[in-house]
């Protein structure tokens, strides 16, 4: 069992189908008689819609139907919702402007949905869309996060005067002011956290299908949380009641948060399928993904750190403007507030913290969650402040961190920003990272690089993460519209194999393997006899889905709870079979045994007896061996780690070469180290993308997306990143049965600060805004005069 159990690097069960082209992604599905949807999108960031003439388009070959704003409403189909509406510091709810599926009188961003053309082929739908005449009256657009609150900024929504969506705060402002008043030193930093476009390689897609025989709908969709999509499409869009709507999310080709929201396209496909009486399919092309997937980050921040003479942190203050885009996406207001402000303690004992976030509307694509969602932004502020403070005070950056780390005996640790950290040993993590990075040898490497004409720098990032928002009552108290538990069903089949239904949904995280390891380990069933089922509301009991690194901590724990019920029932059956009392039955490695005897029965035989109950205590026990569980965690989990990055900068060109990357992470108990390391590699690379390459750029006057293709938006490629060195420290999470935390987002949270700390160290400047392109780095070197003499 050990080679497939908890802790083993089991090769993935799902790989065979992916490697042989037998994966089944949404666009791979074709339904008989399907027609194709194409969305006509606004070419303007802000315009009044004076009229839409579809006459010529309707007569175009192959056109089945064209719908425009007002058509869904005529059928009682509502607009998109925001499912996480926070309350701001004045006690008011965040402003939620209406967001119709198809624009009615105004378009609010380039890419806004104006009309949908449904035709026999996609090419015919596109051809017809070109014939639609839209009478736009262009209006001034509000672009640029920092300018959105200016008194003369164009107004995005009448519901949000001054473009202010909310003005939120957390922490004790007076205590923080007092800390700054007595500070020996104050470090100040202004920064921009650059807007990113998630860019899962699989574009979003949807197929809606109506069955008149049962008056029910099926939606195949690229969703991280099909059950949540079903609730929203039922309860808010009124397309179909929940029991008449099946949502299937098959294999998902990456998501990173971008496939959590419910989008207009999928609602339109399922609604229109009844109207046209045929399945309606839509697949985004990449240009649409750039415009119409949610974007991430986009903060403008002023932050300060107050320190004592010995480098101890006294207080931290941050004021952030967070861009919401043109509308509120599904959990938009929670991302820059609760998922951001609660992380400002980092790994440190900073006693006073105050964070203020103003959410603003602009005429740009909606901004919501992207890998890390709020937490990378917080870590970036904290770790940049700490680094600059160390340099200003002449204290080694490692030493200043060490002096402020929360000690291992302080857990559970109550931070000044609401949350209580569960467990950790931050000093051990730091020590291991320093050793793996050969921190002590850096100076020699730096001198050697200097002889080669290169500027070498080193940067640390001590990040903190919060995974699996919980418990549900807390989620409700902070404005989240749903619960945040997870469900599981563990079903023994009569022949002894096991089918597990989980509400978590993999987008590449390897659930079919990691969850099977847990089941195999606990039930003593060979891993090949365990099948994980997810992504289908008709097969899986219920689910909240996969995001926020919650699947293992919440979904995995639900599976454990269901297995515990299976074992408990199995003991009753075994007691009957073995003619003993239930209290004497022990379960170990797939076998029920009577303590102190040689009497035993395998769990497979118990399962058979449960379904063929010829010799079975029917008078007191139901047949069958199939148990459900819901798990609502007691708290978030708090993974943490230390990443150390070393760079060499070419002063002639400003090109940054990452020459070493060490990641030491504490994810609690690691189920499959191979998969977890892979999550770290991928997360770090997205963080490297943010720090060096990626940045969403809009024309500041017209609001046109200037980085709207892979020709313009720089994705990390194989030759942009190094091989990584990954290590673990395991301090188990004390409040879930597996002791696990979460690993999906950590790399993206840690990486940007490590990299910018390393680059600024190399070139001798305080700060560089991301992405640190060669041009930006080169200019900074010229300004700082740090290029070695030629």
């Amino acid at each position: 069992m050990a080679e497939t159990g908890i802790g083993a690097a089991v090769r993935r069960k799902e790989d065979y189908r992916f490697l042989t082209g037998r994966g089944r992604y949404t666009d791979d599905i074709s339904r008989p008689g399907q027609v194709y949807a194409y969305f006509l999108r606004s070419p303007h960031a802000h315009a009044t819609l004076n009229g839409i003439n579809t006459d010529a388009a309707r007569n175009s070959p192959g056109v089945v139907a064209i719908y425009t704003g007002g058509d869904p409403e005529a059928d009682g189909v509502g607009g998109l919702i925001c499912g996480w509406v926070i309350t701001d510091k004045s006690g008011e709810k965040a402003k939620v402007p209406p967001r119709p599926l198809l624009a009615r009188d105004t378009v609010h961003y380039v890419g806004d949905h104006v009309a949908v053309v449904i035709a026999e082929t996609l090419a015919q739908a596109k051809d017809a869309a070109e014939l639609i005449e839209v009478d736009y009256e262009e209006l001034a657009a509000c672009i640029g996060t920092a300018k959105a609150l200016d008194p003369d900024a164009p107004l995005v929504h009448a519901e949000a005067p001054g473009n202010l969506c909310f003005d939120w705060e957390v922490g004790d402002e007076a205590a923080t002011d007092a800390a700054f008043a007595k500070a020996h030193h104050v470090t100040k930093l202004s920064l921009v956290n650059n807007r990113l476009i998630p860019n899962a390689i699989e574009p979003r897609a949807a197929i809606g299908e109506y069955d008149p025989g049962s008056d029910s709908f099926t939606l195949y969709v690229t969703s991280q949380n099909p059950h949540v999509a079903r609730i929203i499409i039922s309860a808010f869009h009124n397309v179909a009641p929940e029991h008449k709507l099946r949502v299937v999310a098959p294999d998902i080709g990456g998501a990173f948060g971008s496939k959590l929201p419910v989008y207009a396209e999928e609602v339109v496909c399922v609604w229109a399928s009844k109207k046209v009486g045929r399945p309606v399919k839509w697949t985004a092309d990449r240009s649409e993904s750039f415009l119409a997937d949610v974007h991430g980050r986009d903060h403008v921040t002023e932050a300060e750190l107050a320190l004592e003479e010995n480098g101890k942190f006294l207080g931290l203050r941050a004021h952030t403007i967070a861009n919401m885009g043109a509308y509120l996406s599904t959990i938009a207001t929670g991302t820059p507030t609760w998922l951001h402000g609660l992380l400002f303690a980092g790994q440190y004992t900073t006693p006073a913290i105050y964070v203020n976030v103003k959410g603003v509307f602009t005429h740009t694509s909606p901004v919501d969650l992207y890998r890390g969602a709020g937490r990378p932004e917080a870590t970036f502020v904290v770790e940049r402040l700490v680094e600059i403070a160390a340099r200003e005070m002449g204290i080694d950056p490692v030493e200043i961190r060490r002096r402020n780390l929360i000690p291992p005996d302080a857990f559970p640790y109550q931070t000044p920003v609401v949350v209580t950290y569960d467990s950790g040993d931050y000093a051990a993590v730091l020590d291991k990272a320093l050793e793996m990075a050969d921190y002590a040898g850096f100076e020699a490497r730096q001198q050697q690089a200097e002889r080669r004409g290169k500027l070498r720098g080193i940067g640390l990032s001590n990040y903190i993460e919060a995974c699996g928002i919980a418990p549900s009552k807390v989620a409700g108290a902070i404005g989240f519209a749903l619960g945040l538990w997870e469900s599981a069903q563990v079903r023994f089949n009569p022949t002894g194999n096991v089918t597990v239904f989980t509400g978590s949904h993999s987008q590449g995280q390897g659930h079919e393997t990691a969850f099977a390891q847990i089941v195999s380990d606990r039930l003593g069933v060979p891993i090949e006899n365990v099948e994980i089922v997810h992504g289908d509301t008709d097969r899986v009991l219920f689910g909240m889905g996969t995001y926020g690194s919650r699947s293992l901590a919440v979904g995995g724990s639900a599976i454990v709870k269901a297995m515990d019920k299976v074992i408990a029932k199995g003991k009753k059956i075994a007691a009957h079979t073995l003619e003993s009392s239930e209290g004497d039955v022990e379960f170990e490695a797939g076998t029920f045994k009577i303590a102190g005897t040689d009497k035993s029965v395998s769990i497979a035989d118990v399962a058979f007896a449960a379904y063929v109950p010829h010799n079975y205590p029917l008078e007191k026990l139901e047949p069958g061996l199939d148990e459900n569980a819901f798990y609502d965690p007691g708290n978030f989990t708090f993974p943490a780690g230390c990443h150390i990055c070393e760079v060499e900068v070419d002063p002639e060109t400003g090109v940054v070469d990452i020459v070493n990357w060490v990641a030491v992470d504490d994810f609690g108990k690691v189920i499959n180290p191979m998969i977890v390391e892979g999550q770290v590699h991928g997360g770090v690379t997205q963080g490297v993308g943010q720090a060096l390459l990626e940045g969403c750029v809009h024309d500041q006057d017209t609001g046109q997306l200037l980085t709207g293709s892979y020709m313009d938006y720089t994705m990390p490629r194989a030759d942009d990143v190094p091989s990584f060195k990954v290590g673990f420290i395991e301090t188990p999470c004390p409040h879930n049965p597996l002791g696990v935390k979460g690993c999906g987002e950590a790399g993206a949270i840690a990486a940007p600060a490590a990299l910018i700390n390393a680059i600024t160290d190399a070139i001798g400047v305080d700060h560089l805004d991301m992405p640190a392109t060669p041009e930006k780095v080169w200019r900074a070197i010229q300004q700082a005069g740090t290029a070695p003499a030629a």
């Binding site: 090769r11 993935r12 799902e14 790989d15 065979y16 189908r17 992916f18 490697l19 042989t20 082209g21 037998r22 994966g23 089944r24 992604y25 666009d27 791979d28 074709s30 090419a123 860019n199 899962a200 390689i201 699989e202 574009p203 294999d251 998902i252 080709g253 990456g254 990173f256 092309d285 990449r286 240009s287 987008q507 590449g508 995280q509 390897g510 191979m674 998969i675 390391e677 892979g678 590699h681 991928g682 997360g683 770090v684 690379t685 997205q686 293709s709 892979y710 020709m711 994705m715 990390p716 490629r717 194989a718 030759d719 990143v721 091989s723 990584f724 790399g747």
Partner: protein, 155 residues
């Protein structure tokens, strides 16, 4: 509409296509071989890489009619009798895939890479794969897999 004919995974196929049909559309929509993926519209991502007459090629850059008479291999044509091609096996062994969406194109590119560089260094592998995006793996394990499939020293 033009009628075209080619060999795909050792089988002769014919089809009637609009002249504007891309090779990738012919493969996915006409032949139902959905292992070849479309991830972009500017020939950058490489999810659609197949082999045409023995060379790796982005099947979104070629019209189906241009492949008339060609020998095409897709990801579905690699494994023989259920046994993975050594490159596929190396991707599995070294966890060179996560969501699996870029994987078919990545594997097809990697096989061609080894044909041209039988014992590639890490630098060569990374440079050669710059036409294939992966958003999940950070490329670390893909590089490892390609190196392992080469079986050489990679110096």
């Amino acid at each position: 509409m033009p009628t075209i004919s080619m060999t795909v995974n050792n089988k002769t196929v014919t089809g009637e296509v609009e002249a504007r049909t891309l090779l990738v559309q012919f493969i996915r929509e006409h032949l139902g071989l959905t292992g070849t993926h479309v991830g972009c519209d500017t020939s950058q991502c490489g999810a659609c890489v197949v082999h045409v007459n023995g060379r790796s090629l982005k099947s979104c850059t070629m019209l189906a009619v241009q492949a008339e008479g060609a020998e095409v291999t897709t990801i579905e044509g690699l494994a023989v009798d259920g046994e993975l091609h050594p490159m596929q096996a190396a991707f599995k062994e070294h966890h060179g895939l996560q969501c699996g969406f870029c994987t078919p194109g990545m594997v097809m590119s990697a096989i061609d890479l080894l044909k041209r560089h039988p014992d590639p260094s890490e630098e060569t592998i990374r440079a050669e794969l710059e036409g294939n995006f992966c958003r999940c793996t950070g490329y670390h394990n893909i590089v490892k897999a390609v190196k392992a499939a080469a079986g050489g020293t990679g110096s």
